[in-house]
């Protein structure tokens, strides 16, 4: 059978980041939202919030430093909670 698909790195990071922001930054993706962009904006805001908490450059993008910080071993309690 064909070789396994090369994992789509960008999408993998996006999924990891989404899970991280849900766990620790109270990010709630609106599953049935018709407006994909709305979710993206909301997620960008949460990325900014996480970057600000850890004193990273606040870009709203999943840059290398932001992904590295998300992958650090940590406590399971949210950093921000509603």
């Amino acid at each position: 059978c064909a070789f396994p698909e090369v994992p789509d790195k960008e999408n993998e990071d996006m999924q990891f980041a989404k899970k991280y922001l849900e766990n620790f930054y109270d990010f709630k993706e609106e599953k049935n939202s018709l407006f994909k962009s709305k979710n993206l904006n909301h997620m960008t805001d949460k990325i900014r919030e996480m970057q600000s908490f850890f004193g990273l450059e606040v870009t709203g993008n999943l840059d290398r430093k932001t992904m590295d910080m998300m992958k650090q071993p940590r406590c399971g309690i949210p950093d921000v909670r509603s």
């Binding site: 004193g55 650090q72 071993p73 940590r74 406590c75 399971g76 909670r81």
Partner: protein, 404 residues
Amino acid sequence: YSTFPQSPRWRREDVTYRILNYTPDMLQADVEEAIAKAFQLWSSVTPLRFTRLYSGQADIMISFANGFHGDFYSFDGPGGTLAHAYPPGNGIGGDAHFDEDENWTKFATSSGYNLFLVAAHELGHSLGLGHSNVLGALMYPIYMPQDIRSYRLPQDDIDGIQALYGPPRETPALPTEAYPPQETTEMTSAETPTEMSPREEPTEITPSKTPTRPKDCDPHLTFDAITTLRGETLFFKGSYVWRKSPYFSDIEHDTISSFWPSLADGFDAAYEVDKRDRVLFFKDNKYWAVSGYSIESGFPKPIQNLGFPTSVRKIDAAVYDQNTKKTYFFVGSIYWSFNENTQSMERGYPRKIAADFQGIGHKVDAALQKNGLFYFFHGSNQYEVDIKSKKLIRVLKSNSWFNC
């Protein structure tokens, strides 16, 4: 620092904890030591006192588990989330869970996560602290390996916990630093690891009935055992320790488990052989030897190893005479003399206490040598004796050492 919404906190200063199970990565004694020292970090900067329970419901239930473990926050395998804990409250409130899929260690090495550091962080949550965004703070969410031998609670964490509970009642004589991990022996009275049994949710937290420490100047105060230790004097009763230090004017209040987490409460006797930096603790027909915080390997041993007949099931008191290098062991109305150099009982013993110690015509609860004189404690009194002349000098209250 931050707290949880509405800043939940424990409403009393005596908080209980229980270790429900253990990780196979570490000796049980090392797990208990790490957790006891993690609690001590917080008790040394607040009025809080922590007492360990071995059964029943405690305020803070500590356990190791992996994956889904009965709450809504499953663990995620190695790395990622290491542990989590809940803010003060009923039921699961205060509880701390550690991911068993991690490699737990008592040292700060790259090969695993230091249990003391992670436990200290999680217990911060159990007491009501949220995460801090101050890099280097204990409550920073990311695990930061560091040398734990000189670990001191960062100021941000002290500010946070004191915002919830205020400063300690008296200046903490113990620095808020952990001591280096010591080799410790196998458990003596640990609870055997049990499966985490599903707990019925209590309708409301019934504060565990924790014994309270007698007041320092209670005129009826009695002691189980007394010993010197590296220039200080330790007074034992139940699980409590009163610590009198020549370096601090105040009496420090501790529990046995905060110094020796794996030793049971309620010593019968204790004495120090100062030149060997060794203290021996006696309970029932066993004894332990410690040096500072660490318990010497191979203990406990039966007291018959010292030369007692099997008819002796426990001793009442013991005291080492620095002048003669002999230790006196008191059992009922008789006593033995043990030669610390030859490590053997002296011939011609046991003898009647009343025959050799004038004025001491009864059972001895505890004994102490200080400044060349001997002090024999019986109930709420102590008898000061000049052992050379064997004369009784005066009778004092047992707690006269506490500046009452």
